[in-house]
């Protein structure tokens, strides 16, 4: 995972996160302890959203902390919180996939998949030469989201990154559930158009 430059308006490491990253670089195990103290609860919530299993979520958090220990350095996260959450999300998603391999999945993530699937028509598909380049697609999505209003992208990321339910998102941002649904539907449509413009969807 490469280090990326956050934009001015986006959250960046606070002094404590910077200190924790220095501990990682100094190979001081207190880095793990401090990270766990500050982020374990949040990481656990992200994993739980995906897996709906307390024990597996705890395991994912431990794996994520270990992965952070392995990757920092050489990585120097621009936003420690985002970096850690991304690791735990991907680990959780890997478990989710292996759990439902070949089976019909259930839960919020399955619903998210259906929502996204419904946002393209049957005539559209991913460009064959770009469909396996996760990073290229992720960069396009990141660029697209930066062009959206803050609340719109927060809702989108909460849904399709964190796997939160519509109700949780509505509560988090103090808006109605229908507002969240409409916002997501519009953003999905715009995203598809953007990906078409980028020739990722053809």
């Amino acid at each position: 995972m490469a280090d990326r430059e956050p934009s001015q308006s986006m959250p960046q490491n606070d002094a404590e996160d910077a200190e924790i990253i220095e501990l990682f670089f100094a190979r001081d195990e207190a880095a793990i302890e401090r990270t766990s103290e500050k982020y374990a609860k949040r990481l656990s919530a992200v994993s739980r959203n995906i897996l709906k299993d307390e024990t597996e979520a705890e395991e994912c958090v431990n794996d994520a902390l270990f992965r952070a220990w392995q990757t920092i350095p050489p990585e120097r996260p621009g936003t420690l919180a985002g970096y850690l959450v991304r690791i735990v999300r991907n680990l959780s998603l890997d478990r989710y996939r292996s759990r439902f391999a070949g089976k019909r999945a259930a839960g919020e993530f399955a619903t998210s998949l259906d929502e996204l699937a419904d946002s393209i028509s049957g005539w559209e598909s991913l460009s064959p030469d770009k469909m396996f380049d996760d990073r290229l697609i992720a960069d396009a999505i990141s660029r697209f989201l930066r062009g959206q209003k803050k609340l719109v992208r927060q809702i989108f990321v909460c849904r399709y990154f964190y796997g939160e339910s519509i109700r949780e998102i509505a509560r988090r941002f103090s808006v109605g559930e229908s507002y969240v649904k409409i916002s997501l539907a519009r953003t999905r449509g715009k995203l598809k158009d953007y990906l078409k413009k980028e020739e990722i969807v053809v």
Partner: protein, 196 residues
Amino acid sequence: MSREKSKELYAKTILSAMGNLDDDLIAEAHDAEQVTVQSAAFRLRRYLPRVAASFLVLASLVLIVLLARQVEYILPLASRDGEATDAFAQEKAAHVELSLTDYDEKTFSATLTFTGLADTDLLLFAVESESGAPAPSALYGGAVPETVEKDGVTYYRLNVKGLDRVSVTLSGVTDPQDVKIRFSAGKEEATVRPSV
């Protein structure tokens, strides 16, 4: 590839690619402090019109009540200038009537009439002042009726056997709105506060 497979692949690819979103976008969505500020701003934006509308409705109601009170206050004052025979509306019992009989610039005299007493032998009534000011005194047949204590209240006691109606004179009524009549006649019990 079938259409369904194509759609499914798109969804899975997007969800998978979301895992490589920029860290700052990820952190921003879940930044508790920002969310709190955002929530507060949103709550305000969302509820402000409702609060304003409620306030307007409430203010209108208060205004209507104030106007109604003004009208209610002015009308009886106008009629007081004429013959002092205003019948006060009774709040509860239809068989108690209070009417002003005289006004000496400072206090009113009033006639308190109890009707429908045919089945009653004993009438107990108390004249009270809502505000706690000295209560008007009662005279029956030119004399102060006998009093009895009941539940801490001093009642005038009248033998009304064989009478269908009884009239009592009240003197020293400084504010007719302040007068409260508590009475007990047979099974009937009521508190009447004449409205002016």
